[in-house]
């Protein structure tokens, strides 16, 4: 570096060049001595030096008067020249090298001392001088105040110049292209076309070079979208071999059967056996396969999908073992036979000794639970849709619906006193209206002589024709046995509330005066005392078929015609707490057990499901629902399976009524 710069400064006088040399040397020495010291400290040092020095060379004119002659002429003399008075200036004692070195080592300011050969003396440079030299070395003007880029002042131009510098008109040659130039150009063009002039060919770069240097480069990909590598093609299996095991080759029949398959189901590759290498032909689809792969690579959207490699068992929810939840009905114990048509409804007597069943063949039967003996038969003649025991044990009365009517039958159980009361009750009911007046307009209580019972007849609200079309779809006794709710398709029943849609099923709250009515989509909860709507439960099902209330009253299950079962926790929300798809076909009935934490659903697919449904007293704990058992045994008849299911009031037993005209009892 120093070489170049000193060249640049050729025209500086010899003294200064020499000075500069020394400066550089001094600089180098200085740098050698302490590398880490920066320029700032350096300058501060020099500043110190200035303070100490008391030199006055600036004022003193050069003593030597020999002029600009080579100094080597005086090399062998004892003097170096003459002073202004013509006296010889004698040379000083030479310091030997060791001394000078020691001096330089001792004196930190030595670097700024230079030897003036001309005057034969040591000069110490001041701070300003050093600054000047530095600036010169950098190629700048020596004085910092000098501004090399001062705004240009055009002295020769002023706005209203009378006399231009030149008055000559612009020559023509300034406007027309040069003839000689164009001739030259044409010459060159010709030479180029002929190939006489050869251009420098673009430098042939190597086609390949080391693209990935050291592999420590940071991934630039992060800036861009995440790169999804293309999925690798499937690796070939044994069957693709040129010589596969014989069992991989399909028989001729199988190959023929491929023709019957759909195009997309047909296997793409039919294994074939070649006995030797030389007999393998070229694969006819090689190019097509490759092309399809190309298309896949650049035309198919790529999505990163997580490949799940999980144990299917881990998908199953963690449920308590079924063994711990015993007892629950699991095996068919008894079968009650006698009906000739589908058993549409069953009802268990509150004591659990008897069950009543209503069938399509027009009979109502009462069976003894323990033995399966048929105790009593009423031939009604019309299909009995529903039967229901009065929940009071001292009032052994059975309600059965036939078409649009409801019959209240005296079963004849109980002791004489009870019997008497029943008879009285049934008799009194006839003429007087139990209900309010407006009720009687479309409900009439008629004494039926034949079966010794009361017949409730529904009328249509509109029109005067007694309805035979509207059938009773639900009968429900109030827990005290005082009230009876009946639902019919024809809006015959009278609610003090507005219902949206047709009612499907109804149920009384087991302890409070609350009434649940299910329409096709929703379940509405009414307060009977205040006569107003409390809650609307949205089932999110297509069509509700039945509902049942937990004995505690806070939970409700709803079965639907699409085979789904909803569990509502009334305290939780108006949406189902859990929806179970437990049957492939319609759920016909759902039921809760009165004392055991069990509930059941039965369906047209000839099965009944038993669930464990534990409701905790602690409000923070959600109900526990565990599927326990699928009960089979019924056979399908006329597209219907199990029509009704009821739990035994005390035992964990389940009765199911099937369309195959049998009633089954499942025990634990």
């Amino acid at each position: 570096m120093s070489h170049q710069e000193s060249q640049k400064l050729d025209n500086v006088n010899p003294l200064e060049t020499r000075v500069e040399d020394v400066i550089e040397r001094g600089d180098n020495d200085f740098l050698d001595d302490n590398h880490d010291q920066d320029e700032h400290s350096e300058s501060s040092q020099s500043h110190q030096a200035v303070d100490e020095s008391d030199s006055s060379e600036d004022e003193v004119a050069p003593r030597n008067t020999i002029g600009d002659v080579p100094l080597e002429w005086y090399k062998d003399e004892k003097h170096i020249g003459y002073d202004i008075a013509g006296r010889k200036i004698t040379k000083k004692e030479r310091q030997d090298k060791l001394d000078s070195f020691l001096a330089s080592a001792d004196d930190s300011k030595n670097w700024r001392k230079i030897y003036d050969e001309y005057n034969d003396e040591e000069v110490e440079l001041t701070k300003e001088e050093i600054k000047h030299i530095r600036r010169l070395l950098k190629g700048k003007a020596p004085h910092a105040e000098f501004d090399p880029y001062a705004p240009y002042v055009d002295w020769f131009k002023w706005d209203d110049a009378k006399h231009p510098l030149s008055n000559a008109p612009e020559p023509k040659r300034r406007f027309i292209p040069s003839k000689w130039e164009s001739k030259k150009v044409v010459e060159y063009v010709r030479a180029i076309r002929k190939g006489l002039i050869k251009f420098d060919q673009p430098k042939e770069e190597p086609r390949f070079y080391r693209l990935w240097g050291d592999d420590s480069s940071s991934a630039d990909r992060t800036k861009h979208l995440a790169y999804i590598p293309p999925p690798k093609p499937k690796l070939p299996g044994h069957e693709e071999s040129y010589n596969p095991s014989l069992e991989y080759i399909p028989t001729q029949e199988e190959i023929n059967s491929y023709q019957l398959m759909y195009e997309e189901d047909r296997p793409k590759f039919i294994p074939k056996k070649f006995t030797s290498f030389r007999s393998i032909p070229a694969y006819e689809n090689a190019i097509k396969d490759s092309f399809e792969r190309c298309l896949d690579l650049y035309l198919c959207p790529r999505v990163r999908k997580k490949r799940i490699n999980i144990d299917p068992e881990s998908l199953k929810p963690k449920l308590p073992s079924r063994k711990d939840l015993r007892p629950y009905p699991s095996t068919c114990y008894l079968e009650y036979r006698g009906h000739e048509g589908a058993v549409l409804s069953i009802s268990v007597e509150p004591s659990g000794q008897w069950i009543a069943s209503g069938s399509k063949d027009g009979t109502v039967r009462i069976w003894e639970v323990e033995t399966g003996r048929c105790l009593r038969v009423w031939e009604i003649g019309e299909a009995v849709q529903l039967v229901a025991w009065n929940p009071l044990p001292e009032l052994p009365v059975l309600a059965a619906s036939v078409g649009a009517d409801v019959l209240i039958l005296n079963t004849g159980f109980g002791n004489e006193e009870e019997q008497k009361r029943v008879k009285e009750l049934l008799h009194i009911g006839t003429p007087t209206s139990d209900d309010s007046d407006d009720m009687s307009s479309f409900l009439s209580w008629i004494q039926d002589e034949k079966y010794d019972c009361i017949r409730l007849r529904h009328y249509r609200v509109l029109g005067s024709v007694p309805s035979s079309l509207g059938t009773v779809s639900s009968i429900e006794w109030h827990r005290k046995g005082d009230y009876l709710s009946t639902l019919s398709k024809r809006l015959t029943q009278r609610f003090p509330f507005k219902l949206h849609g047709l009612p499907v099923s109804s149920v009384f709250h087991p302890t409070r005066s609350i009434f649940f009515v299910a329409t096709k989509k929703n379940v509405r909860v009414y307060d009977l005392l205040k006569q107003k709507l409390i809650k609307k439960l949205e089932t999110q099902l297509r069509e509700v078929s039945s509902i049942a209330v937990h004995p505690a009253g806070d939970n409700l299950i709803v079965g639907s015609k699409e085979g789904k079962l909803c569990w509502f926790d009334m305290d939780l929300s108006s949406k189902p707490y859990k929806t179970l798809k437990c049957h492939p076909k319609d759920i016909t009935k759902v039921a809760f057990h009165r004392s055991y934490p069990l509930f059941a659903s039965c369906s047209d697919d000839c099965t009944a499901c038993i669930f464990h449904g534990m409701v905790y007293a602690d409000l923070n704990q959600n109900p526990l629902i565990v599927p326990l058992e699928i009960l089979r045994g019924h056979t399908s008849y006329d597209g219907r399976g199990v029509m009704d299911c009821k739990f035994h009031p005390r035992q964990p037993w389940l009765f199911t009524a099937g369309a195959d005209s049998s009633i089954k009892l499942y025990c634990h």
């Binding site: 480069s217 690798k232 093609p233 071999s241 790529r302 199953k316 079924r322 068919c332 699928i630």
Partner: protein, 607 residues
């Protein structure tokens, strides 16, 4: 310039998504036509750019423009937009127009001149951008290799713009790759399928599988757009070139290799390459960097020259000796266990290929596993009459002249040995025989649930080789029968065990049922049972069924719909697999029965 470009881009984007939402799927994804509008290129150029840049459509969650559109992510489009390649393509397009114009004006001279200076582009930066690290490139090397191998086999057709130059380039790239794999013993599995030969190599921990078609005249089909394939090929060629460079660099060999013209003329490229590699490698070892980094360039050139000379001076008939020399020297290069195994598989074998054998594949494969190989023809390292040949690969029905010192085997023997990693007995592979089935090394038989017979035999042989017990003298077909005994002794695999367990369970069930029946009978006499016999029977019959179903059903009810679907899918997959295995077993049984009856028939005829 840049400012103008940015401005233009903004205007374009605004016109494309004018009056639309500025966030969400509508802003993030554009249809293909929108993308083309943004990029201002023709569809064919857009396709090319997509292929080179590796941009593919995305699947937005919500398809704003409808279901029948393809969607590109806006970032992908920007990624193309900011690439210099786009500008280059436009330039080329404009330049093509110039040429066309010159031709139309019958200005042939100008057209020729223009053609000679047509702008070209390079893909190095694109590759670098797509694959920031070398491993990334290796990971995606399957498709490039398959494609390049396919094109190396295709005929050059002017009509389809498949040029001779490119075919040759493909072939060269293939050979370079194969030479590297073979030299470094990185080949792991080979499978001869109907579609071609599958090779699997392991480079830098990446498993790379590629398919090389059989060396036959390929069938050209019409329903293929060769433009697309050639664009892919262009990228793949560049990628493979750079990958090869990197690989050659890693073993201290200069790339591109300078080949012996004599061998090249004989179409023995691979052999020439392997010799080049050997020579270069040896030189690199012989003169380790003593000279230091400041060795003048001139000297380097000189050494290159000398290398080329050395290559010519190599003793033509003994590549193996040289290879051993190199191997001994380079043993300090760290190698894993498998590489060492692969290297030593054919260690002392000297194999000769007959004329009819597919030479290219075997020339690649045998040296990759440490064997020495030669073939019939000019430039071969040793002739057929060499006494030290241990095996001769023959693919013809009968062998005329037989040297007693060597074994004559079919080519499948080589591949089976490689996949089994042991030297298999040669008897079943002898000339004229039906070789045993060739099995895929890519299948996990255990997971598949069905193990072919020959796989069992091979496993046995492997076990025997491992424990250094000499295999039983009877091999081949006898071995198949023996396998049953061997299995009983302790080579029972998982599926077999499972089957046995199933059978056992069935037996237990039957026994239980029998006991139950007995009990019922006893009880039936003493106690008054209401259940009629018919009912019990039906119950008995339905009992296992019910048990089975109830075991899985109840908990399934409690699954969420998603999980239930998943569960069902898993079950269905299992079922399918089971059915497949069942079918295989059935076929096997049928075949065996047919064979037996045939034998009987023959015996009957004989007697």
């Amino acid at each position: 310039m840049v400012k103008r470009r940015v401005f233009r881009l903004r205007v374009l984007l605004e016109t494309v998504t004018m009056g639309k939402k500025k966030e969400g799927n509508a802003a993030r994804y554009v249809t293909r036509s929108q993308a083309i509008k943004i990029l201002q290129v023709s569809l064919s150029d857009f396709r090319k750019l997509c292929i080179h840049k590796g941009v593919f459509p995305r699947e937005p969650k919500k398809k704003v423009k409808g279901n029948h559109h393809t969607y590109y992510h806006l970032k992908d489009v920007m990624y193309i937009l900011h690439d210099p390649l786009l500008e280059k393509f436009r330039e080329i397009r404009a330049y093509q127009r110039k040429i066309k114009k010159a031709k139309a004006k019958k200005n042939d001279e100008l057209a020729k001149l223009l053609l000679s200076r047509a702008p070209s582009y390079r893909l190095d930066l694109v590759i670098r951008d797509r694959y920031p690290t070398f491993i990334d490139a290796l990971r995606d090397l399957d498709d490039p290799l398959t494609m390049v191998h396919l094109f190396a086999m295709l005929p050059a057709i002017d009509r389809l713009k498949i040029e001779v130059k490119r075919i040759h380039n493909c072939r060269r790239l293939c050979h370079e790759w194969q030479a590297y794999i073979s030299r470094t013993h990185k080949l792991r599995k080979v499978f001869v399928a109907v579609k071609g030969i599958y090779y699997q190599a392991e480079v830098d921990g990446q498993k790379i599988t590629w398919l090389a078609p059989h060396a036959r005249q390929q069938v050209l089909t019409d329903d293929v757009d060769f433009n697309v394939m050639l664009t892919f090929l262009e990228f793949y060629e560049a990628l493979l070139g750079f990958v090869n460079f990197q690989l050659y660099h890693s073993i201290n060999v200069k790339y591109p290799p300078i080949l012996d013209p004599r061998l090249e003329a004989l179409a023995a490229d691979l052999y020439a390459l392997s010799r080049y590699l050997d020579a270069n490698h040896r030189a690199a070892i012989q003169e380790p960097q003593v000279a230091g980094s400041s060795r003048p360039e001139q000297e380097q050139e000189e050494s290159d020259l000398r290398l080329a000379q050395l290559q010519h001076q190599l003793p033509a008939n003994e590549p193996g000796a040289l290879m051993h020399l190199v191997q001994d020297a380079s043993s300090e290069i760290e190698e894993d266990e498998t590489t060492r195994n692969c290297k030593n598989l054919f260690q002392n074998k000297k194999i000769f290929l007959s004329r009819e054998v597919p030479r290219e594949s075997l020339l690649f494969v045998i040296p990759a596993f440490g064997g020495i190989v030669s073939w019939e023809g000019d430039g071969a390292p040793f002739a057929e009459s060499d006494d030290s040949i241990t095996h001769q690969i023959v693919d013809r029905p009968t062998q005329g002249h037989v040297y007693l010192s060597r074994e004559y085997v079919q080519p499948q023997w080589v591949y089976d040995c490689i996949n089994a990693r042991i030297i298999l007995p040669t008897e079943p592979y002898m000339v004229g025989r039906d070789p045993p089935p060739h099995l895929s090394p890519f299948v996990d038989d255990e997971a598949e649930g069905y193990v072919p017979d020959y796989a069992k035999t091979i496993r046995q042989l492997q076990a025997a080789a491992k424990s250094d017990i000499q295999p039983l003298p009877g091999t081949g077909n006898d071995e198949l029968d023996n396998s049953q005994n061997m299995l009983a002794e302790g080579f029972i695999n998982r599926t077999e065990a499972m089957e046995a367990a199933e059978k056992k369970q069935e037996m237990m069930l039957l026994e239980k049922q029998y006991h139950n029946e007995l009990k019922m009978e006893l009880q039936g006499v003493s106690s008054i049972n209401k259940l009629n016999s018919e009912d019990t029977k039906s119950k008995e019959q339905s009992l296992p069924d019910v048990e089975e179903q109830s075991a899985e059903d109840p908990s399934r009810l409690m699954m969420s719909r998603k999980k239930r679907g998943l569960y069902k899918a898993i079950e269905m997959g299992k079922q399918q697999k089971k059915e497949r295995v069942k079918k295989l077993k059935e076929r096997k049984r049928n075949i065996e029965a047919a064979q037996k009856s045939e034998k009987k028939h023959k015996k009957a005829q004989v007697s």
